[in-house]
Amino acid sequence: MAELIELSAAETAARIAAGETSAVEVAQAHLDRIADSDDQVKAFLHVDTEGALAAARAVDDRRRSGEPLGPLAGVPLAMKDVVVTKGQPTTSGSKILQGWIPPYDATITRRVREAGIVMLGKTNMDEFAMGSSTENSAYQVTRNPWDLSRVPGGSSGGSSAAVAARQAPLAIGTDTGGSIRQPAAVTGIVGHKPTYGAVSRYGLIAFSSSLDQAGPFGRTVEDTALLHQVLAGHDPLDSTSIPTAGPDVVAAAREGARADLTGVRIGIVTELTGLGGGYQDGVLASFKEAVLTLRALGAEIVQVSCPHFDYALAAYYLIAPSECSSNLARFDAVRYGLRAGDDGSRSLEEVMSLTREQGFGPEVKRRIMIGTYALSSGYYDAYYGQAQKVRTLIAGDFEAAFGQADVLISPTSPFVAFEVGERVADPMAMYVNDLCTLPASLAGTPAISVPCGLSDEAGPALPVGLQIMAPTMADDRCYRVGAAFEAAYLAANGPILAGVPRLGSVGAGTDGATR
């Protein structure tokens, strides 16, 4: 059974479709793996054993009755706890929603179920997706499978850790400023933030509505593309959903796997190469290697400048908190979740204030207050208004750069995985993790992170991510270039996840079969 947790999603689905294994066997193998390793990793807030086995049985029944199965039918998936799931607890990592059972499914939950994908449970995250280490969860600290003393990135750190630890071959995360790409980078897996509007936000617990975007994690680019294809598509329940069909990202990933980038122009973003310092040497060394690999694949490498990217951090940390202060006003102690101090003598306003004080953690409170400040009369123009103008300038920088290059590249994060507790007391030290991922968030453009090497300057060898950014609705370019790079990396170095140490009682990474 240990072998089943090593397979790619594509291979797992193929074996189930061919009757070589059953969806129930696959689900059970992953549930066993979670039982065996999650004491160490702590990726899951809730494991739905019965629901997973029932979904798997339904896939096996359909196969036996000769029904056609989708390309991911029977493949297990870990769902970030920010996505609502009917009948399953959904907390968004917050005490204010402890015990809440949603009465409906998010659109992406429905799509996952309809594809025959087997949801194993809900993964840990920074509270309301605010953070870059998953340490802001109100429930537990998720550990990086590469080194259990380190963070798995965030905010989708439960999802990234689950995939890297072979608890699930696929996971869903959400990315507001880098919360899919950065955790993928620091756990050595693939994560893609789709074009804003490509994947429905209906049923995502909102943090920053103009930035939030759900997307896929996988151990291979092809697996990630297969899940992307399931998630993407127009949804009338989300007014910002793009009404036209997106590109065929699976075909793009398969084209990329042929490892030929002849004629592709790749732009290095000067502002994201650490010229002003602040990037780890090991990250920059891996990035330089990656550039050489891309050139060897036939790509033309050009240098592009995006001068306003230097203001992305400031713009993001005004826009996201502003939208969060408005979105989180819904937690009013009336319709769902916690209510504190309702002793019959207190007013609604007092109960609301006591509930929010008790239910929210420090980072959420900080962001709500920053947002309240930035939106207040007299400061609105100088802060929120100015940030929105900078957003226009950043989008303009992207547009100009995409005139010179088909895709843009940078490290995904300036740092490899850091130690638990290292940055948690200093909000700005945490925020700079997102330096490279914020521009694509603000412009709504797609970006993928693929593993591009190991850095041992912080101690043990830890994974580094390569970010590949593309124009709006050209997500296929991320997958094509990502798959080509992955093929070259694999040929030269073998599977990167072979470096994950043994977890639980079953060895992982010993034979390193990510394919």
């Binding site: 509007g197 319709r335 209510r339 609604l348 929010r356 929210f360 409170k365 400061y379 100015q386």
Partner: protein, 103 residues
């Protein structure tokens, strides 16, 4: 509030917390005043960008007048919605008193 955009007093943090309906503790006021000042100091450079005649971007993908077909869809069952509420009375959300608040 203070005229200097990058400083934030303890009283101002208390005011923000009240606006945001957060009953913060005295210790939190001390902690947050320092932290918010650092954060605001770091984002204040947004003002350095010459953007006076630039249009603001509210959403990455411009969309106009998005409307669904005017079709009646079933609502969630009342019991399912009320099941998640902190307090329910007579098939309704029970709300603490709202009158007598200062506004």
């Amino acid at each position: 509030m203070s005229d200097d955009r990058s400083t934030l007093t303890r009283d101002e943090v208390a005011h923000l917390a009240r606006l945001a309906r957060l009953a913060v503790t005295e210790e939190e006021l001390d902690l947050f005043a320092g932290q918010l000042e650092v954060i605001l100091g770091s984002v204040a450079r947004i003002g350095d960008v010459a953007a006076a005649d630039i249009r603001p971007t509210t959403h990455a993908v411009p969309l106009q007048n998005v409307a669904r077909p005017d079709v009646v869809l079933p609502s969630l069952p009342r019991e399912a919605v009320l099941a998640g509420a902190p307090a329910v009375e007579d098939d309704r959300f029970r709300v603490p008193q709202i009158l007598g608040e200062e506004e």
